[in-house]
Symmetry: C2
Subunit: 194 residues, 2 copies
Protein backbone atom coordinates (compact mmCIF):
# COMPACT_ATOMS: atom_id res chain seq x y z
CA UNK A 1 0.00 0.00 0.00
CA UNK A 2 1.89 2.96 -1.36
CA UNK A 3 0.31 5.58 0.90
CA UNK A 4 1.23 3.51 3.95
CA UNK A 5 4.86 3.20 2.85
CA UNK A 6 5.04 6.95 2.41
CA UNK A 7 3.50 7.49 5.82
CA UNK A 8 5.97 5.10 7.45
CA UNK A 9 8.86 6.91 5.75
CA UNK A 10 7.61 10.38 6.64
CA UNK A 11 6.30 9.77 10.17
CA UNK A 12 7.99 6.59 11.39
CA UNK A 13 10.81 6.93 13.89
CA UNK A 14 13.63 4.45 13.60
CA UNK A 15 14.86 3.30 17.00
CA UNK A 16 17.29 0.70 18.28
CA UNK A 17 16.43 -3.03 18.24
CA UNK A 18 14.73 -2.95 14.83
CA UNK A 19 11.87 -0.85 16.09
CA UNK A 20 10.01 1.65 13.92
CA UNK A 21 7.64 3.77 15.95
CA UNK A 22 4.50 4.71 14.08
CA UNK A 23 2.67 6.09 17.06
CA UNK A 24 1.74 9.32 15.30
CA UNK A 25 -0.91 7.49 13.28
CA UNK A 26 -1.22 3.80 14.15
CA UNK A 27 -0.84 2.93 17.80
CA UNK A 28 -0.92 5.88 20.17
CA UNK A 29 -2.25 8.80 18.20
CA UNK A 30 -4.70 7.58 15.56
CA UNK A 31 -5.12 9.24 12.21
CA UNK A 32 -8.73 8.18 11.83
CA UNK A 33 -9.08 9.09 8.16
CA UNK A 34 -6.03 7.02 7.36
CA UNK A 35 -7.18 4.12 9.55
CA UNK A 36 -10.35 4.06 7.49
CA UNK A 37 -8.29 3.71 4.32
CA UNK A 38 -6.35 0.89 5.94
CA UNK A 39 -9.62 -0.84 6.78
CA UNK A 40 -10.82 -0.52 3.19
CA UNK A 41 -7.50 -1.80 1.84
CA UNK A 42 -7.53 -4.86 4.08
CA UNK A 43 -11.15 -5.57 3.16
CA UNK A 44 -10.35 -5.27 -0.55
CA UNK A 45 -7.79 -8.03 -0.20
CA UNK A 46 -10.46 -10.40 1.10
CA UNK A 47 -13.14 -9.29 -1.33
CA UNK A 48 -15.59 -12.03 -2.18
CA UNK A 49 -14.81 -13.97 1.01
CA UNK A 50 -17.51 -14.51 3.57
CA UNK A 51 -16.37 -12.91 6.83
CA UNK A 52 -18.50 -13.18 9.96
CA UNK A 53 -16.13 -11.73 12.52
CA UNK A 54 -12.95 -9.70 12.79
CA UNK A 55 -10.71 -10.95 15.57
CA UNK A 56 -7.92 -8.78 16.96
CA UNK A 57 -6.07 -8.04 20.16
CA UNK A 58 -6.16 -4.98 22.37
CA UNK A 59 -5.20 -2.24 21.98
CA UNK A 60 -3.64 -1.26 18.69
CA UNK A 61 -5.68 -3.72 16.65
CA UNK A 62 -9.03 -2.31 17.68
CA UNK A 63 -9.33 0.73 15.42
CA UNK A 64 -8.08 -1.25 12.41
CA UNK A 65 -10.52 -4.06 13.16
CA UNK A 66 -13.46 -1.64 13.38
CA UNK A 67 -12.75 -0.17 9.97
CA UNK A 68 -12.38 -3.62 8.41
CA UNK A 69 -15.59 -4.78 10.10
CA UNK A 70 -17.48 -1.82 8.61
CA UNK A 71 -16.67 -3.11 5.15
CA UNK A 72 -17.95 -6.62 5.93
CA UNK A 73 -20.82 -5.42 8.10
CA UNK A 74 -19.74 -7.73 10.89
CA UNK A 75 -18.66 -7.53 14.50
CA UNK A 76 -15.23 -7.20 16.04
CA UNK A 77 -13.94 -9.21 18.96
CA UNK A 78 -10.75 -8.13 20.62
CA UNK A 79 -8.74 -10.48 22.82
CA UNK A 80 -8.00 -9.03 26.23
CA UNK A 81 -4.66 -8.99 27.95
CA UNK A 82 -4.49 -9.46 31.69
CA UNK A 83 -7.27 -10.10 34.15
CA UNK A 84 -10.34 -8.09 35.04
CA UNK A 85 -13.14 -8.62 37.52
CA UNK A 86 -15.59 -8.20 34.67
CA UNK A 87 -14.12 -10.97 32.61
CA UNK A 88 -16.03 -14.10 31.87
CA UNK A 89 -14.58 -17.24 33.39
CA UNK A 90 -15.35 -19.25 30.30
CA UNK A 91 -12.67 -18.13 27.87
CA UNK A 92 -10.36 -19.27 25.14
CA UNK A 93 -6.85 -18.52 26.37
CA UNK A 94 -3.40 -18.31 24.85
CA UNK A 95 -0.02 -17.36 26.20
CA UNK A 96 1.83 -14.81 24.11
CA UNK A 97 5.40 -13.58 24.41
CA UNK A 98 5.77 -9.90 23.63
CA UNK A 99 9.16 -8.59 22.67
CA UNK A 100 8.16 -4.95 23.15
CA UNK A 101 6.65 -5.63 26.56
CA UNK A 102 9.48 -7.95 27.53
CA UNK A 103 7.49 -10.85 28.87
CA UNK A 104 4.75 -13.39 28.46
CA UNK A 105 1.12 -12.57 29.02
CA UNK A 106 -2.19 -14.36 28.66
CA UNK A 107 -4.81 -13.28 26.15
CA UNK A 108 -8.44 -14.24 26.50
CA UNK A 109 -11.58 -14.28 24.38
CA UNK A 110 -14.90 -15.15 25.95
CA UNK A 111 -16.42 -18.29 24.46
CA UNK A 112 -19.63 -16.32 23.97
CA UNK A 113 -18.08 -14.36 21.14
CA UNK A 114 -16.29 -16.91 18.99
CA UNK A 115 -18.40 -19.72 17.56
CA UNK A 116 -18.11 -22.94 15.68
CA UNK A 117 -18.43 -22.43 11.94
CA UNK A 118 -17.86 -18.66 11.99
CA UNK A 119 -15.61 -17.27 9.26
CA UNK A 120 -12.94 -15.26 11.04
CA UNK A 121 -10.44 -12.73 9.73
CA UNK A 122 -7.59 -11.89 12.12
CA UNK A 123 -6.13 -8.38 11.93
CA UNK A 124 -3.42 -6.60 13.88
CA UNK A 125 -1.10 -3.62 13.60
CA UNK A 126 2.27 -5.42 13.57
CA UNK A 127 3.51 -8.88 12.72
CA UNK A 128 7.01 -9.80 13.86
CA UNK A 129 7.48 -13.25 15.37
CA UNK A 130 3.78 -13.94 15.09
CA UNK A 131 3.17 -14.74 18.75
CA UNK A 132 -0.03 -12.71 19.04
CA UNK A 133 -1.47 -13.96 15.75
CA UNK A 134 -0.59 -17.56 16.61
CA UNK A 135 -2.40 -17.15 19.92
CA UNK A 136 -5.46 -15.81 18.11
CA UNK A 137 -5.33 -18.63 15.54
CA UNK A 138 -5.24 -21.21 18.33
CA UNK A 139 -8.43 -19.68 19.71
CA UNK A 140 -10.11 -19.83 16.30
CA UNK A 141 -9.17 -23.51 16.03
CA UNK A 142 -10.30 -24.28 19.54
CA UNK A 143 -13.66 -22.63 18.84
CA UNK A 144 -14.11 -24.72 15.70
CA UNK A 145 -14.33 -21.52 13.69
CA UNK A 146 -12.89 -21.15 10.18
CA UNK A 147 -9.86 -18.93 9.68
CA UNK A 148 -10.27 -17.01 6.42
CA UNK A 149 -6.88 -15.35 6.76
CA UNK A 150 -4.77 -12.80 8.55
CA UNK A 151 -3.93 -9.21 7.74
CA UNK A 152 -1.50 -6.82 9.36
CA UNK A 153 -0.63 -3.23 8.66
CA UNK A 154 3.12 -3.67 9.03
CA UNK A 155 5.04 -6.93 8.79
CA UNK A 156 8.65 -7.07 9.93
CA UNK A 157 9.91 -9.12 7.00
CA UNK A 158 13.22 -9.90 8.72
CA UNK A 159 11.41 -11.74 11.51
CA UNK A 160 9.85 -15.15 10.87
CA UNK A 161 6.17 -14.61 11.75
CA UNK A 162 4.97 -13.81 8.25
CA UNK A 163 6.86 -16.56 6.46
CA UNK A 164 5.78 -19.10 9.06
CA UNK A 165 2.14 -18.27 8.33
CA UNK A 166 2.68 -18.46 4.57
CA UNK A 167 4.45 -21.82 4.96
CA UNK A 168 1.35 -23.13 6.68
CA UNK A 169 -0.74 -22.08 3.67
CA UNK A 170 -2.51 -19.31 5.55
CA UNK A 171 -3.57 -16.32 3.51
CA UNK A 172 -1.64 -13.38 4.93
CA UNK A 173 -2.04 -9.84 3.67
CA UNK A 174 0.57 -7.40 4.96
CA UNK A 175 0.02 -3.83 3.81
CA UNK A 176 3.72 -3.02 4.16
CA UNK A 177 6.64 -5.38 4.72
CA UNK A 178 9.76 -3.92 6.28
CA UNK A 179 12.90 -5.46 4.84
CA UNK A 180 15.71 -3.54 6.54
CA UNK A 181 15.57 -1.00 9.34
CA UNK A 182 18.91 0.76 9.36
CA UNK A 183 19.21 2.75 12.54
CA UNK A 184 22.68 4.13 11.78
CA UNK A 185 21.59 5.61 8.45
CA UNK A 186 17.99 6.17 9.52
CA UNK A 187 16.62 4.38 6.49
CA UNK A 188 13.89 1.82 5.93
CA UNK A 189 13.59 -0.43 2.92
CA UNK A 190 10.49 -2.41 2.05
CA UNK A 191 9.97 -5.83 0.54
CA UNK A 192 7.48 -6.32 -2.22
CA UNK A 193 4.12 -6.94 -0.60
CA UNK A 194 3.60 -10.24 -2.43
CA UNK B 1 -29.90 7.80 24.40
CA UNK B 2 -32.92 5.56 24.14
CA UNK B 3 -31.36 2.96 21.85
CA UNK B 4 -28.47 2.58 24.26
CA UNK B 5 -30.79 2.06 27.23
CA UNK B 6 -32.62 -0.63 25.29
CA UNK B 7 -29.36 -2.29 24.35
CA UNK B 8 -28.17 -2.26 27.98
CA UNK B 9 -31.46 -3.81 29.09
CA UNK B 10 -31.50 -6.45 26.38
CA UNK B 11 -27.79 -7.39 26.25
CA UNK B 12 -26.33 -6.25 29.58
CA UNK B 13 -25.56 -8.88 32.17
CA UNK B 14 -26.08 -7.90 35.77
CA UNK B 15 -23.34 -9.29 38.01
CA UNK B 16 -22.35 -8.90 41.65
CA UNK B 17 -20.65 -5.72 42.91
CA UNK B 18 -22.77 -3.34 40.86
CA UNK B 19 -21.31 -4.53 37.61
CA UNK B 20 -23.22 -4.60 34.34
CA UNK B 21 -21.36 -6.40 31.62
CA UNK B 22 -21.93 -4.95 28.18
CA UNK B 23 -19.20 -6.90 26.49
CA UNK B 24 -21.46 -8.07 23.69
CA UNK B 25 -21.33 -4.63 22.07
CA UNK B 26 -19.10 -2.16 23.94
CA UNK B 27 -15.92 -3.58 25.40
CA UNK B 28 -15.04 -7.07 24.20
CA UNK B 29 -17.18 -7.75 21.19
CA UNK B 30 -17.87 -4.50 19.32
CA UNK B 31 -21.10 -3.81 17.48
CA UNK B 32 -19.49 -1.47 15.00
CA UNK B 33 -22.71 -0.07 13.54
CA UNK B 34 -23.89 0.78 17.02
CA UNK B 35 -20.51 2.25 18.02
CA UNK B 36 -20.84 4.56 15.06
CA UNK B 37 -24.21 5.75 16.36
CA UNK B 38 -22.64 6.32 19.76
CA UNK B 39 -19.91 8.40 18.13
CA UNK B 40 -22.50 10.51 16.32
CA UNK B 41 -24.54 10.97 19.49
CA UNK B 42 -21.55 12.14 21.51
CA UNK B 43 -20.51 14.50 18.73
CA UNK B 44 -24.03 15.94 18.55
CA UNK B 45 -23.79 16.91 22.21
CA UNK B 46 -20.71 19.01 21.51
CA UNK B 47 -21.99 20.44 18.24
CA UNK B 48 -20.64 23.88 17.52
CA UNK B 49 -17.62 23.38 19.78
CA UNK B 50 -14.15 23.43 18.31
CA UNK B 51 -12.55 20.06 19.00
CA UNK B 52 -8.95 19.39 17.96
CA UNK B 53 -8.38 16.06 19.62
CA UNK B 54 -10.25 13.18 21.22
CA UNK B 55 -8.43 11.81 24.23
CA UNK B 56 -9.27 8.39 25.62
CA UNK B 57 -7.67 5.43 27.35
CA UNK B 58 -6.96 1.97 26.05
CA UNK B 59 -8.72 -0.28 25.30
CA UNK B 60 -12.45 0.16 25.48
CA UNK B 61 -12.35 3.88 24.73
CA UNK B 62 -10.61 3.49 21.40
CA UNK B 63 -13.49 2.51 19.12
CA UNK B 64 -15.76 5.14 20.66
CA UNK B 65 -13.07 7.79 20.28
CA UNK B 66 -12.54 6.93 16.61
CA UNK B 67 -16.21 7.37 15.78
CA UNK B 68 -16.38 10.68 17.63
CA UNK B 69 -13.19 11.85 15.91
CA UNK B 70 -14.72 11.10 12.51
CA UNK B 71 -17.44 13.63 13.22
CA UNK B 72 -14.95 16.35 14.17
CA UNK B 73 -12.39 15.34 11.57
CA UNK B 74 -9.67 15.23 14.22
CA UNK B 75 -7.23 12.75 15.65
CA UNK B 76 -7.53 10.38 18.59
CA UNK B 77 -4.91 9.90 21.26
CA UNK B 78 -5.28 7.00 23.62
CA UNK B 79 -3.44 6.87 26.93
CA UNK B 80 -1.47 3.68 27.39
CA UNK B 81 -1.46 1.48 30.43
CA UNK B 82 1.73 -0.22 31.51
CA UNK B 83 5.17 -0.01 29.99
CA UNK B 84 6.46 -0.87 26.56
CA UNK B 85 9.90 -0.76 24.99
CA UNK B 86 8.42 1.37 22.21
CA UNK B 87 7.13 4.02 24.53
CA UNK B 88 8.48 7.51 24.50
CA UNK B 89 10.29 8.55 27.65
CA UNK B 90 8.79 12.01 27.51
CA UNK B 91 5.23 11.46 28.68
CA UNK B 92 2.42 12.91 30.70
CA UNK B 93 1.69 10.39 33.43
CA UNK B 94 -1.10 9.76 35.89
CA UNK B 95 -1.78 7.03 38.43
CA UNK B 96 -5.23 5.51 38.21
CA UNK B 97 -6.94 3.10 40.54
CA UNK B 98 -9.12 0.57 38.77
CA UNK B 99 -11.82 -1.19 40.67
CA UNK B 100 -12.37 -3.82 37.99
CA UNK B 101 -8.65 -4.56 37.71
CA UNK B 102 -8.19 -4.40 41.46
CA UNK B 103 -5.17 -2.14 41.63
CA UNK B 104 -3.40 1.05 40.64
CA UNK B 105 -1.70 1.48 37.31
CA UNK B 106 0.07 4.26 35.47
CA UNK B 107 -1.32 5.74 32.27
CA UNK B 108 0.87 7.64 29.86
CA UNK B 109 0.45 9.97 26.90
CA UNK B 110 3.48 11.03 24.90
CA UNK B 111 4.07 14.79 25.06
CA UNK B 112 4.28 14.75 21.26
CA UNK B 113 0.55 14.17 20.98
CA UNK B 114 -1.03 16.60 23.42
CA UNK B 115 -0.28 20.28 22.91
CA UNK B 116 -0.76 23.62 24.53
CA UNK B 117 -3.89 25.35 23.31
CA UNK B 118 -5.51 22.25 21.79
CA UNK B 119 -9.23 21.80 22.41
CA UNK B 120 -9.64 18.34 23.86
CA UNK B 121 -12.71 16.18 24.34
CA UNK B 122 -12.25 13.22 26.67
CA UNK B 123 -14.32 10.10 25.98
CA UNK B 124 -14.53 6.70 27.63
CA UNK B 125 -16.83 3.71 27.90
CA UNK B 126 -17.63 3.83 31.64
CA UNK B 127 -17.56 6.48 34.36
CA UNK B 128 -17.77 5.25 37.95
CA UNK B 129 -15.43 6.90 40.44
CA UNK B 130 -13.83 8.95 37.71
CA UNK B 131 -10.27 7.83 38.31
CA UNK B 132 -9.42 7.33 34.64
CA UNK B 133 -11.06 10.58 33.51
CA UNK B 134 -9.39 12.52 36.30
CA UNK B 135 -6.05 11.12 35.19
CA UNK B 136 -6.74 12.20 31.61
CA UNK B 137 -7.88 15.67 32.77
CA UNK B 138 -4.65 16.11 34.72
CA UNK B 139 -2.73 15.41 31.52
CA UNK B 140 -4.79 17.95 29.59
CA UNK B 141 -4.03 20.56 32.29
CA UNK B 142 -0.36 19.68 32.39
CA UNK B 143 -0.15 20.05 28.61
CA UNK B 144 -1.76 23.48 28.79
CA UNK B 145 -4.52 22.21 26.53
CA UNK B 146 -8.17 23.25 26.88
CA UNK B 147 -10.70 20.71 28.11
CA UNK B 148 -13.93 21.13 26.16
CA UNK B 149 -15.70 18.43 28.14
CA UNK B 150 -16.06 14.74 28.84
CA UNK B 151 -18.42 12.13 27.47
CA UNK B 152 -18.99 8.56 28.49
CA UNK B 153 -21.28 5.88 27.17
CA UNK B 154 -22.39 4.62 30.60
CA UNK B 155 -22.18 6.51 33.87
CA UNK B 156 -22.72 4.67 37.12
CA UNK B 157 -24.90 7.31 38.73
CA UNK B 158 -24.60 5.77 42.18
CA UNK B 159 -20.85 6.34 42.19
CA UNK B 160 -19.44 9.84 42.59
CA UNK B 161 -17.36 10.33 39.43
CA UNK B 162 -20.05 12.05 37.38
CA UNK B 163 -21.30 14.40 40.07
CA UNK B 164 -17.75 15.33 41.00
CA UNK B 165 -17.12 16.44 37.44
CA UNK B 166 -20.39 18.39 37.28
CA UNK B 167 -19.57 20.08 40.61
CA UNK B 168 -16.34 21.32 39.06
CA UNK B 169 -18.34 22.87 36.23
CA UNK B 170 -17.07 20.45 33.64
CA UNK B 171 -19.42 19.67 30.79
CA UNK B 172 -20.16 15.96 31.08
CA UNK B 173 -22.35 14.09 28.63
CA UNK B 174 -23.29 10.57 29.72
CA UNK B 175 -25.34 8.67 27.14
CA UNK B 176 -26.92 6.50 29.84
CA UNK B 177 -26.80 6.90 33.61
CA UNK B 178 -27.38 3.80 35.71
CA UNK B 179 -29.32 4.56 38.87
CA UNK B 180 -29.82 1.16 40.46
CA UNK B 181 -28.39 -2.21 39.50
CA UNK B 182 -30.43 -4.80 41.34
CA UNK B 183 -28.67 -8.13 41.09
CA UNK B 184 -31.28 -10.06 43.08
CA UNK B 185 -34.12 -9.02 40.79
CA UNK B 186 -31.92 -8.67 37.71
CA UNK B 187 -33.20 -5.17 36.97
CA UNK B 188 -31.55 -1.92 36.00
CA UNK B 189 -33.08 1.52 36.40
CA UNK B 190 -31.75 4.63 34.73
CA UNK B 191 -31.50 8.23 35.86
CA UNK B 192 -32.52 11.01 33.57
CA UNK B 193 -29.53 11.88 31.46
CA UNK B 194 -29.60 15.54 32.45
Amino acid sequence: MEELRKKILSEGKICANNIVKVDSFLNHQLDVGFMKKIGKEIASRFKGEKIDKILTIESSGIAIACYVAEEFNCRVVFAKKGKSLNQSKDCFEANVYSYTRGGEYTIRVSKEFLHKGENVLIVDDFLANGAAINGLMNMVNEAGAHLVGCSVVIEKGFQPGGDNLRAKGIKLESLAILDVIDEANQTITFKDEK
